[in-house]
């Protein structure tokens, strides 16, 4: 059975510009929040803009609780991080759902917040997601790499100690 993967807007754009979206779709059951789907109508490749039309390939998450969204906003504020509504909605979903689903993001601030909220076990770097899907090429952007993902997780933990006084 394919694992479920929740993608954020930047991963969705990057996978399209690198031509790897279908690779991910073959290996994972891809989920997106409605907000992310609306946020990314285009991706760019060699200067040209292309429309992203994937609603048939993915599961759209429609219902995210307002309480969870508020919780994410408050945690982001406490951690001194500026998170956009799309990332907030995705993290809120990960926080509230009991389903087996992993959040794939390459956004430094979002990764730090995930770690700050102790949700890192439910998140994954783009590199790892692709390697698990059998992709071995090295044409990824630095922000996709497991190394930079881990650095942000570490920074999120440091923020947790700083602002929550919790290890």
């Amino acid at each position: 059975m394919r694992k479920s993967l929740l993608l954020d807007a930047d991963v969705l754009i990057d996978l399209h510009s690198l031509g790897l979206f279908q690779w991910i779709c073959k290996s994972y059951h891809v989920h997106l929040t409605r907000k992310v789907l609306e946020e990314v109508p285009f991706y760019k490749k060699q200067g040209a803009k292309y429309k992203i039309d994937i609603s048939a390939d993915v599961t759209i998450i429609e219902s995210i609780g307002i309480e969870s969204l508020g919780k994410v906003q408050n945690e982001a504020k406490e951690a001194r991080l500026g998170i956009d509504p799309g990332e907030s909605a995705s993290i809120a979903y990960i926080d509230e759902t009991d389903k087996e689903i992993t959040f794939c993001t390459c956004d430094k601030a979002a990764i730090k917040l995930i770690s700050y909220m102790n949700l890192e076990e439910r998140s994954i770097s783009v590199e790892t997601a692709l390697r698990n899907a059998g992709y071995r090429e090295k044409n990824l952007y630095p922000r996709h790499l497991e190394k930079s993902f881990k650095e942000c997780i570490k920074e999120g933990k440091a923020l947790r100690i700083q602002f929550k006084r919790l290890v």
């Binding site: 807007a9 930047d10 754009i13 510009s17 929040t33 409605r34 907000k35 946020e39 990314v40 285009f42 991706y43 760019k44 803009k49 429609e62 219902s63 995210i64 609780g65 307002i66 309480e67 969870s68 969204l69 508020g70 906003q73 408050n74 504020k77 001194r80 991080l81 500026g82 998170i83 956009d84 509504p85 799309g86 990332e87 907030s88 909605a89 809120a92 956004d107 430094k108 601030a109 979002a110 990764i111 730090k112 044409n139 990824l140 952007y141 630095p142 942000c152 920074e155």
Partner: protein
């Protein structure tokens, strides 16, 4: 358990109130807003505002975007009304939407400064004046204040050429240029949380924008000295508004530099209309501003000033000689410092890429290009994207 339920209800009530206030301050009627949000009828939105229908996360996000609010606004513990800017307009206009746009820019800018732990310097410039200082001879006081601020800011012989940069970079004023309706020249605000903000109409001629900037600076420097009612909204020339014009004149046309320039171009001590236009071009102000400055400096009689202004040939020559300058140098909407701070916050992982795109009003797929343009990308990343 009871306390938790009570707290949840209180939060929901707060949220309902905030979505209603956010809509009203953005200037939308409930029917307009419901239409723009894609609701079939206004009753749906009305029920949300009254708390009889639950709001989903997506709906709240859509409202935040339409009303020009950050999502934080709906969840913050403190709920204070928006600060009110001082507006400058020659005719009554509905400024709700543009006011929210202005405040939203100030909130975003302040957020970046706070995330980077930057201090603000605007309090250095505020004069320790009170109302009494302007009661005897307010015009003279305003003129002297212009001279004083010119010196303190070290604005040089042609202040208009670097005033914007000094205010933005030295004093960390937040200056936004937006296309405003005809008759609306700008606004200013001083607020403890947001700092100093100035809004300028990008559609105005460069000399007009320079004068507006200096005019708004007077209001910032004397913030709290005059009440908003005394100052008015610009539709009437109130006394503080006249002071602001005098201040702007003396700031942008320092006496000694203006007289030196005049002596160089005027022949036989006679001031010709064309000299006034040349001086205006040189100092980056309107010909009318130069003319009245010369009248105030007693270099030109008031009657001659009025005569020159009433001469259609003078108006025509002024237009012709400045035609090329009109659209020559339009400032960018956002200050470069704002863009720089946004880049820094993104590179440090303090804001998400989506927040960056929202703040700079760019498409999310253009974030990398924007960073490269600002010189902020890793060399290795550039190689990869080029490949």
């Amino acid at each position: 358990m009871g306390a938790a339920m009570e707290s949840k209800r209180s939060r929901e009530k707060d949220l309902n109130k905030r979505i209603s206030v956010a809509r009203e301050t953005a200037g939308f009627s409930i029917t307009e807003a419901a239409g723009k949000l894609g609701f079939r009828n206004y009753q749906t939105l009305s029920a949300m505002e009254k708390g009889t229908r639950n709001i989903t996360a997506d709906e709240l996000i859509a409202m935040a975007r339409l009303y020009g609010r950050r999502l934080d606004y709906f969840f913050e513990a403190d709920f204070s009304p928006d600060p009110v800017p001082l507006w400058r307009m020659t005719q009554k206009s509905d400024v709700h939407l543009v006011q929210r746009q202005f405040l939203s820019f100030l909130e975003n800018y302040s957020k970046l400064e706070n995330l980077l732990g930057l201090k603000r310097r605007w309090k250095d410039i505020q004069a320790s004046y009170d109302r009494e200082d302007f009661s005897d001879d307010g015009f003279e006081r305003a003129g002297k204040l212009g001279v004083d601020i010119h010196q303190r800011l070290d604005l040089g012989s042609r202040p208009a050429s670097n005033l914007l940069s000094v205010l933005e970079n030295d004093l960390r004023f937040k200056i936004l240029h937006l296309p405003l309706e005809d008759g609306v020249s700008g606004a200013s605000i001083v607020d403890n949380a947001l700092g100093v903000g100035i809004l300028i109409n990008i559609n105005d001629a460069p000399w007009r924008r320079n004068f507006d900037l200096a005019h708004e600076l007077f209001h910032v420097v004397t913030w709290g000295v005059f009440s908003p009612v005394e100052i008015g909204d610009g539709t009437k020339k109130t006394r503080p508004e006249k002071y602001a014009d005098i201040f702007a004149s003396s700031l942008l046309m320092p006496e000694s530099h203006l007289i030196n320039a005049l002596n160089e171009i005027a022949s036989n001590n006679e001031i010709r209309p064309v000299d006034i236009i040349e001086l205006a071009k040189d100092f980056g102000v309107s010909s009318e501003a130069v003319l009245w400055r010369l009248v105030n400096l007693k270099r030109l009689s008031r009657s001659k000033g009025n005569k020159v202004l009433a001469d259609p040939d003078f108006r025509e020559a002024d237009r012709t000689m400045r035609r090329d300058l009109y659209g020559a140098t339009k400032p960018s909407k956002f200050p470069s410092r704002f863009e720089f701070l946004a880049c820094r916050c993104l590179m440090d992982g303090r804001i998400s890429r989506g927040t960056f795109a929202e703040f700079l009003e760019i498409d999310r797929s253009e974030v990398d290009e924007c960073l490269v343009g600002a010189g902020f990308m890793d060399a290795s990343y550039e190689k990869i994207t080029a490949a």
